[in-house]
């Protein structure tokens, strides 16, 4: 006797369901996010080398300004890499949803598809929050860099901004990682459901 799938929150249909909107976005956008992350990392590293040259030349204003641009580029890369990971996880969840439905349909059974679990909803919410914080920090670094270069911001104020923005960046990265943990935890839930469901269909046959 199998464990019935009634302990899971599902929706029933005659045909397999298509991927939902976040899963479709994941399928389309993981590759651009991957490419943009590499561009961000390369840009950040190049700016760091230029900054080191400015330090060697004793130009503190230029070095501090470049430091902010470099951090902005590097963390744009991190924002894109975490977004790419989140999209790739969404794509995997989409494969389970569509593939699981089509398998049930092929077996001539009614198609039971999991409704979006709470972990998946939290995954999307936290990822969006992390992305907004990190985007804000990246823009903040560019603005600070411009102000330092224009000499409208003192180096003391620049240091203060640097610490605030670093705090925001750290928090955003941690939220991203927790969002990814939630996304992966959803995969465990989905595979458990599918392992039970396929046995249930075999028993019904």
């Amino acid at each position: 006797m199998t464990t019935a799938t009634y302990e899971f929150n599902t929706q029933t249909s005659a045909k397999a369901l298509d991927a939902n909107v976040p899963q479709k976005a994941g399928r389309t956008l993981w590759a651009p996010a991957f490419a943009m992350s590499l561009m961000g990392f390369a840009g950040g590293m190049i700016l760091a080398i230029v900054k080191a040259t400015a330090i060697a030349d004793g130009d503190a204003v230029l070095a501090t300004s470049l430091d902010n641009y470099g951090i902005a580029a590097m963390f744009f890369g991190f924002m894109m890499v975490f977004t790419g990971i989140s999209f790739a996880i969404a794509r995997i969840l989409g494969e389970f949803r569509v593939g699981g439905g089509q398998t049930q349909e092929a077996a001539g059974s009614e198609v039971k598809t999991l409704k979006m679990p709470a972990t998946a909803k939290a995954f999307i919410g936290l990822m969006a929050m992390a992305m907004m914080i990190l985007m804000g920090a990246v823009i903040g670094h560019v603005v600070v860099g411009i102000q330092i270069n224009a000499e409208t911001l003192s180096l003391v104020n620049a240091e203060q901004w640097d610490i605030w923005l670093e705090t925001a960046r750290r928090l955003a990265v941690q939220l991203y990682l927790f969002a990814i943990t939630l996304g992966l935890a959803t995969i465990i839930y989905v595979i458990r459901y599918q392992s039970i469901r396929i046995r249930e269909i075999a028993e019904e046959t």
Binding site: I92, N157, R170, V173, F178, T181
Partner: protein, 315 residues
């Protein structure tokens, strides 16, 4: 060691039970988030000290402690991810048993058609057809063996760095403090690199599980075994992972090297690019992880298509 790690991911449990990895992983993640909140508080406090005369040493101490705790929170979050990935591996092997048992009932009982072994093209890319399940690839053997040691080495390095960060905090503005700062950064980012490498190896183990499991199901049913060949995303994943890990090892060596400098200006110059350099290493490891996940999605797409073929045609 491979056998021990294989037992961890292939436990003999009932297919319907919850294995606990999800709860443990999310629990570790929540602890890390709490540490992250402390780090955020320290950051706000540190910013309030900037420009206050006489608070320079306190500012340095707060920043040193915040750095140590931040990296610790990050490694805990990555450990949580590693625990969840182990849970996915366990689930994949439970799924293999479920699919094997169910397909035997669901597939039409027809004669297995003659088939040619060798390479074939599918809509998902190049694949091979064989009579037996394919053997584990060398990269998969390595992944199945290395994820555990990498995880342990990573966590140990980061916690060692956390202890050194307290020496840094207690010696701000001295040469001992500078040395401790370099050791903290080098050790903690080496640890971060190891943990991300462990996650990469776990993802490769998931790919290995999908490949072996898929072969095992088809062979058990007496069907031609169709296996997807390694996609380009998987090859690029291995390259990025190796590059990222190499950078983390090199940055560690370079941070130790700068502790030999007697000239503070030279130390500051090297530190100015070593920070982005170590972040580049982590970035490449993370970029590799995107490709590994994309490869998993592709392997699943191929597997579901094969399962449907078996259910519909019996072949």
């Amino acid at each position: 060691m491979t056998a021990t790690l294989d037992r961890i991911v292939r436990p003999e449990v009932n297919y319907s039970v919850e294995t606990g990895h999800r709860k443990i992983g999310l629990g570790i993640g929540l602890v890390a988030l709490m540490i992250a909140m402390v780090v955020a508080g320290l950051g706000i406090y540190a910013a309030s000290l900037v420009g206050s005369a006489g608070d320079e040493e306190t500012l340095g101490q707060v920043l040193a402690v915040a750095f140590g705790f931040n990296t610790t929170a990050l490694v805990l979050l990555k450990t949580a991810i590693a625990v969840i990935l182990v849970g996915i591996l366990v689930r994949i092997w439970i799924r293999v048993e479920s699919v094997k048992t169910s397909l035997d009932v669901l597939k039409p009982h027809v004669e297995v058609a003659d088939f040619k072994t060798g390479d074939v093209e599918t809509e998902f890319g190049a694949a091979t057809v064989s009579a037996k399940a394919p053997a584990r690839l060398p990269i998969h053997k390595m992944a199945n063996t290395m994820w555990g040691p990498m995880l342990v080495m990573g966590v140990v390095s980061v916690f060692a760095g956390l202890f050194v960060s307290w020496i840094w905090a207690g010696n701000v503005g001295t040469s001992t403090g500078l040395d401790a700062a370099a050791w903290t950064q080098g050790l903690q980012f080496l640890g971060e690199g190891f943990v991300l490498a462990s996650i990469s190896f776990l993802l490769a183990s998931i790919l290995s599980g999908l490949r072996e499991g898929g072969g095992e199901v088809q062979e058990a049913l007496g069907l031609p075994v169709k296996t997807l060949k390694m996609p380009n995303t998987a090859k690029a994943f291995v390259v990025l992972m190796m590059m990222g890990l190499m950078i983390e090892i090199v940055q560690f060596g370079l941070y130790i090297y700068i502790t030999t400098f007697n000239d503070v200006a030279r130390y500051a110059l090297w530190s100015s690019w070593l920070g982005p350099f170590r972040e580049l290493g982590l970035g490449l490891l993370l970029a590799g992880i995107i490709l590994a996940l994309a490869t998993i999605a592709k392997a699943l797409e191929f597997q579901f298509s094969r399962i449907r073929d078996i259910v519909v045609t019996g072949n």
